[in-house]
């Protein structure tokens, strides 16, 4: 500001120097990208080769273009199973996530130890991807929907607890003070001052995880955790791309319908 006025009219103010942090960031970006792309260290992405091979998929895609509609009856039961797993995991997961998120917010956590312990557990729960849960639970309880339901359950607890605890962090503190002033205990404060404020968000997050579950349960089945994903995997193993096409189209429609329904329900409940 002052530099311009000192230099007088007409003269251009000097450009601020580029910050060291920005330059270092750019350099780090370039180096990491070079490593990531290289044949020896990274994934060896060769765009020329890719363009050359772009037509290699044509035969397979041609099969995808001819969906085998006769396969539809066989997909009904796995699809229902996917739906059931998604519902159960969402209900139980959201129920478990409620107390977990109250412990994970400084606003409602009873003490620092509980807060930090809960946060620590949550960050581990959230660091494990859904399929990894599926692999672990398939190893523990065997192939089938129970493993899938458990995998979705942990996935949901992570998602809802993170979203809800952040919402709790941002609540209006007025009602909390009022409840405390009226002699409310920590639990009563959470129940009467915080819960009513976050309830609409909680319902919205619950429906959101249900939608996520429908998508996720398609992929966790690939490792044997039940539902439509398991069927998808067997068809993939037999290279039945015509059957795969049917499954993928059904999934697309299914996810779309669930989303519409979820929007409708959210409007009714919130």
């Amino acid at each position: 500001m002052t530099a311009a006025s000192e230099a007088g009219a007409g003269a251009r103010p000097e450009k601020p120097p580029r910050s060291f942090a920005a330059l270092a960031g750019l350099a780090a970006f370039a180096v990491i990208t070079w490593f990531a792309l290289s044949e020896d260290f990274g994934i060896g992405l060769d765009i020329g080769e890719l363009i050359e091979n772009a037509t290699r998929g044509v035969d397979i895609w041609a099969e995808f273009m001819r969906p085998n509609w006769g396969f539809v009856p066989q997909t009904v039961d796995p699809m229902i199973e996917t739906f059931q797993m998604a519902v159960i995991a969402a209900v139980v997961g959201c129920a478990v996530a409620l107390p977990v998120s109250f412990l994970a917010s400084r606003v409602t956590s009873p003490n620092l130890a509980a807060y930090l312990a809960d946060r620590g557990v949550l960050s581990v729960v959230r660091a494990i991807p859904d399929i990894l849960y599926a692999l672990i639970f398939v190893a523990a309880v065997g192939i089938g929907p129970l493993a899938g339901m458990l995998a979705l359950l942990f996935f949901n607890i992570g998602v809802v607890a993170k979203l809800l605890s952040e919402t709790i962090d941002g609540v209006d503190t007025g009602p909390i003070e009022a409840t405390r002033a009226a002699g409310g205990t920590g639990l009563q404060t959470s129940r009467w001052a915080v819960l009513p404020q976050v309830m609409p968000n909680y319902v919205a997050y619950s429906l959101y995880t249900f939608e996520l579950n429908i998508r996720a349960s398609t992929v966790i089945g690939i490792v044997g955790a039940g539902g439509i994903g398991q069927l998808l995997n067997t068809q993939r193993a037999f290279f039945r791309y015509d059957n795969l096409a049917v499954i993928i189209i059904e999934l697309f429609v299914f996810v779309f319908v669930i989303e519409l329904f979820s929007i409708w329900l959210r409007r009714r409940l919130v």
Binding site: A36, L50, M85, I128, V138, A140, E166, V255, R268
Partner: protein, 290 residues
């Protein structure tokens, strides 16, 4: 209403619709619990079987730490997949996001672009890998990176369009008044306003892509997923445990670094005031517009 003497209470608003929706939801939930093909008494043995798995993973022979270099290398592959995928997603989504913003492109174009982005988002990475990219690139990390990239375009394009729609029109008018051509208007009037937030989205997407890249291996698209799956299938739980720990540690580390960079980009270098309070509580400042 007309009968409104001072003492009468107004009638409670009708909750019929809401109650009906609640009842319907409850019925679906009960149906799911009853009809699903799960033997619920298996739950009684569940703690035992999970305990048994953990015993075999961590305690029986201890973790096989000699497996660490191999697991680490595979995780590094996953990180490269996520990195390249995020770059592909970022490069493609930037122009697409501008076309998806109503104030920059026309209403028709932005609608079409938004619908295409919705379509892309509907397919999980694993399905994209199987259907589109393994046929082109064959098994391996390249297919994984391309799938991660395409899926990222779906979310990044939408977010970019939303940020562009929220800009201050002042600088745009100024560039136009100074005689800027349409492309120059975007470059000097719009981009500087939206870039910090968009770069923060890219980093956030990178954190998500790490999780996706960690599992793509189960369909043969490279990275640590292959390792975890194989060690579990062959019941080498001592090795699987190491691989899982590698995934958890690497994911948390990437989250921490990326989250720190994001906060710096959004808030500037001045945000690095560390006080005792900051260490305990980290409010959701990343969502606040600069």
């Amino acid at each position: 209403m007309t009968a409104g003497t001072m003492a009468t209470r107004p009638a409670a608003p009708s909750h019929a619709k809401r109650n009906l929706a609640l009842l319907g939801t409850a019925l679906v939930v009960v149906w799911a619990f009853i009809s699903v093909d799960i033997e619920w008494d298996e739950l009684l043995t569940l703690p035992g079987s999970i305990g048994n798995l953990f015993y075999r993973m961590f305690l029986r022979d201890g973790l096989d730490w000699s497996y660490l270099p191999q697991a680490g290398a595979a995780m590094l592959d996953s990180i490269w997949i996520a990195w390249v995928g995020t770059i592909i997603g970022a490069i493609l989504s930037l122009p697409i996001g501008f076309f998806g913003a109503k104030n920059v492109s026309s209403g028709l174009v932005s609608n079409v672009v938004r619908q295409v982005l919705n379509g892309i988002r509907a397919f999980p990475e694993l399905v994209l890998v199987i259907v589109v990219f393994i046929p082109i690139a064959g098994l391996g990390p390249v297919a994984g990176a391309l799938a991660v990239g395409l899926h990222s375009v779906g979310t990044l394009g939408k977010l970019t369009a939303e940020v562009v729609e929220g800009i201050d029109p002042g600088p745009v008018e100024a560039v136009r008044a100074a005689g800027g051509r349409p492309l120059q208007v975007q470059r000097w009037g719009v981009l500087p306003q939206v870039l910090p937030e968009i770069v923060a989205f890219w980093l956030y997407r990178f954190e998500i892509n790490i999780r996706a890249a960690a599992v793509l291996g189960v369909v043969g698209a490279g990275g640590i997923g292959t390792v975890v799956q194989e060690t579990i299938v062959y019941r080498r739980y001592d090795k699987a445990g190491v691989a899982i720990i590698v995934v958890i540690v690497a994911t948390i580390l990437v989250d921490l670094v990326s989250g720190w960079v994001r906060r710096r980009i959004i808030e500037g270098a001045g945000a690095k005031r560390v006080s005792g309070e900051d260490l305990v509580e980290q409010p959701e400042t990343a969502e606040v517009k600069p």
